[in-house]
């Protein structure tokens, strides 16, 4: 049974039979700290040096979810963290266990996901001796984490755990790794609850500079063509409501980045689409022609900006971010505000409201013209899904998922074409529904992330939309899904290729398709049956809608492989190195089918 911490209201205060300060093992102490941090579920894989921890877990109320690969423990913890906003926890053993976590840690780092990774380490006395399953986890994880620790004494353990959670969750969230030698797990120590931690060098600026906020409000009023560029920071800070108030008050067109989808409801009239490499025409033209770009919790990623020197070339930029190192990293803003998006937006709205009576009418006419222009761009080149009567177009598949989700389902994805189509066509009415690997672009993310998301949100319909490439990287997790009885709807967009790489080879390498054809894709019905998961393969357009309906009706997990047209490409597309306004709207010529 899944133990929800308090969602069902079925929580009781748990009185320990033992006094508050008592003798216990390091492993027990660790679990004690996790419980105090509100952790209800950890994703892990045991091993030699974490044996004492797993022994302590045996009869501990904390739920442990056994994944089938450590990388997926990190991904599942990220799915959990992104679905809830709480810190995800994963654990692995020393050596290969911790090295397998690395991709997940970098992924969390790039996407600013709060994560605490617990790794076992060999006995303190053996560190540095090339002991069995020893790896320099502390050194390896230095560049993959926001911060990391090597615990040298049981006395330090509780403080470090609380520090790790605090660092992971606050400021710009990120992964924190705690490496714990076996003897620290085994040692006995007197546990006293840690009442405070001291991190003198860790500064979090949340409030935003009052003068800058006032100047920002003034700039926003003076702008004739304002444009809001909102990202993952809105979701991390829980600023969706503040963002909605802000864009409604300013009446600015708004784009949400891949990390920010759902920050503003996709059905909101001010919402345009995702911007960037595969963003809509209106989004990218809006970015290129605005006179004020209001960047909120974004990092001006190259996939959004295209050629940086041409990006929003005529615009002044207001950049709100909680991480001072993001300010001016790629684009030097005209007005930087370091602070939490939620606090800052709330304050900007207050200032705007005060200024409103005097300032509002001034730019009314140019703003109207700006909206007319935006709507014209939207009508000129709308994002329209391709539909065919002879084969299932991949866009058709994502629009069907959108129809079933209706803005409410959790959708996780891998990386590539299916991810881009999902961003273009699936609507999200609230934040924390769209869970995808953004910055790092790790294939094999979707399935384990869905495990974490479904555990975190048992009330939600969860789709794992994966490609046939990424799916094959995460097949082991079918066992986790089956054993945990998670009703995840796994939808494989099967085009027989590593689609996005094939698209680039087609467009930029003379269609010399090299190493991208995925032959021998497993029979999904048999594969599902092997795990006790119902599976089905479809390839006719008329089968699509009933098959998805049937998958959703199924009480447990479902594996649906959808054979889609193999040579469909994602458009619009900004070629790498081009300005976003130079986007290619469709295929240059009829696509040649290679032998």
């Amino acid at each position: 049974m899944y133990l929800s911490r308090d969602r069902q209201g079925a929580v009781t205060t748990y009185e320990r039979a033992v006094p508050m300060s008592n003798l216990m093992s390091g492993a027990k102490m660790l679990l004690e700290c996790l419980v105090r941090e509100g952790v209800d579920c950890i994703f892990g894989y045991p091993g030699g040096v974490t044996l004492p921890l797993y022994d302590a877990l045996y009869d501990h109320p904390l739920r442990h979810v056994l994944v089938r690969h450590e990388q997926n423990a990190a991904f599942a913890a990220e799915g959990y963290a992104r679905a809830t906003g709480r810190v995800g926890v994963c654990c692995a053993t020393s050596g290969p266990g911790s090295t397998n976590l690395v991709t997940g840690l970098v992924n969390a780092m790039m996407d600013s996901i709060p994560l605490v990774a617990l790794t076992g380490q060999v006995h303190s006395k053996l560190i540095g001796s090339d002991a069995f399953q020893e790896a320099d986890t502390f050194g390896i994880s230095r560049s993959c984490t926001k911060h990391n620790y090597l615990v040298k004494s049981i006395n330090d353990l509780p403080g470090i755990i609380h520090e790790a959670f605090y660092i992971a969750a606050t400021g710009r969230p990120g992964p924190v790794l705690v490496d714990i030698p076996k003897d620290v797990f085994q040692a006995q120590g007197h546990y006293a609850p840690v009442s405070s931690i001291h991190l003198p060098g860790y500064k979090v600026y949340t409030e935003g500079h009052t003068g800058q906020i006032r100047r920002a409000a003034q700039m926003i009023w003076e702008a004739q063509r304002p444009f809001v560029y909102a990202g993952g920071g809105i979701i991390s800070s829980g600023a969706s409501e503040e963002l909605r108030q802000f864009v409604e008050f300013v009446d600015a067109p708004t784009v949400c980045t891949l990390m920010g989808l759902g920050a503003l409801p996709s059905r909101h009239p001010n919402f345009i689409s995702m911007p960037g490499m595969h963003g809509s025409y209106a989004a990218n033209m809006g970015m290129s022609h605005c006179d004020l770009l209001i960047a909120l919790g974004v990092r001006f990623d190259d996939r959004v900006t295209g050629r940086l020197s041409a990006f929003a070339a005529h615009a002044k930029v207001i950049h709100v971010d909680i991480d001072p190192a993001e300010i001016g990293k790629n684009r030097v803003p005209d007005l930087p505000i370091v602070g939490d998006a939620r606090r800052v937006l709330g304050k900007i709205v207050k200032v705007l409201q005060k200024l409103a009576p005097a300032e509002a009418p001034r730019n009314a006419a140019p703003r109207k013209a700006w909206w007319r222009q935006i709507r014209a761009w939207q009508q000129e080149h709308p994002l329209l899904p391709a539909v065919s009567s002879s084969e299932i177009k991949p866009q058709h598949l994502v629009t069907e998922i959108d129809r079933i989700s209706n803005g409410r389902a959790v959708v996780t994805s891998d990386v590539g074409q299916h991810q881009m189509w999902a961003c273009q066509f699936i609507r999200f009415d609230e934040p924390r529904l769209w869970i995808s690997s953004g910055g790092l672009g790790s294939m094999g993310f979707g399935l384990p992330a869905a495990v974490g998301a479904q555990l975190a949100r048992p009330d939600k319909l969860v789709f794992a939309l994966v490609g046939d490439g990424g799916f094959q990287m995460s097949i082991p997790e079918l066992a986790t899904i089956a054993s945990q009885g998670l009703p995840i709807k796994i939808v494989i967009m099967n085009n027989g290729y590593l689609g996005m790489v094939r698209q680039w080879q087609e467009l930029f390498y003379n269609n010399r398709l090299s190493g991208v054809e995925l032959e021998c894709f497993p029979d999904v019905e048999k594969l599902g049956a092997a795990y006790g998961i119902p599976g089905r393969v479809i390839q006719r357009p008329e089968e699509l809608s009933p098959a998805l309906n049937a998958a959703v009706r199924e009480p447990g997990p479902y594996l649906l492989s959808v054979k889609v047209s193999p040579f469909e490409n994602v458009y619009p597309m900004v070629p790498s190195g081009a300005a976003v306004s130079e986007m290619v709207l469709g295929p240059p010529q009829p696509v040649a089918v290679p032998k």
Binding site: M1, L3, S4, R5, D6, A10, V11, T12, T13, Y14, R16, C33, V35, R36, E37, G38, D40, L57, Y58, D59, H60, P61, L62, R63, H64, F138, G139, R142, S143, K146, H147, N148, L150, P158, H162, F165, Y166, I167, P193, V194, S195, S196, I197, H198, L199, P200, G201, Y202, K203, V204, D323, P324, A325, I327, G328, K329
Partner: protein
């Protein structure tokens, strides 16, 4: 262009690795690096000289300030600061050049720390460029062996050190879901 970065860091294992990681991950080669404890034994002062692309200098400082073990990172390249370097130098001295070497040493304010029939060991401190000259002069007298300390620098501006206060943890309230028996076993 060479950049001089002064850092106040927590004296903890891994702190040096984190700081140098910011530089090495970008492929910057460190010219010199000195670390020593401050009056407060829990803190260390670090001076790093590194060749950083001028456009990225502020970014590098910001990324260092972002590190949890770093209390303060500042760029001394263009701010008023005093920078010093120390050199320990052994020079082989023939009988006829010994007096000349001592005279030159005096000009550079160097001290003799050892004298033998083979030659002298000299100690000099000063601005790095001055020491370059000193080394050049000494080389003209014969074989030399040089060890330099790397630059230490102190800012002449008072910068207020902003530190975060202690933070209360969630350690106090214990809430655990009620379970009947073993759940992971």
């Amino acid at each position: 262009m060479l950049q001089v970065i002064s850092l106040l860091v927590e004296n903890r294992p891994g702190a040096l690795m984190r700081v140098t990681g910011v530089l090495s991950s970008r492929g910057y080669n460190i010219e010199s690096l000195t670390v020593a404890r401050t009056l407060d034994p829990t803190l260390s002062r670090m001076t790093i000289v590194v060749d950083v692309d001028p456009n990225l200098r502020r970014q590098v400082i910001k990324q260092m300030n972002r590190l949890i073990n770093v209390l303060q990172a500042s760029d001394l390249t263009e701010s008023p600061a005093v920078a010093r370097d120390m050199v320990l130098l052994r020079v082989r001295a023939q009988l006829e050049t010994r007096t000349a070497i001592l005279k030159e040493a005096e000009i550079f304010g160097a001290r003799v720390v050892d004298s033998s029939v083979e030659g002298f060991a000299l100690e000099a401190t000063g601005a790095p460029e001055k020491l370059d000259e000193f080394i050049d002069v000494m080389r003209s007298y014969g074989d030399i062996e040089v060890t330099r300390s790397g630059m230490v620098a102190v800012s002449l501006e008072t910068k207020k050190l902003r530190l975060s206060p202690p933070i209360p943890t969630k350690g106090e309230v214990l809430k655990v879901p009620d379970t009947n028996g073993v759940i992971n076993g």
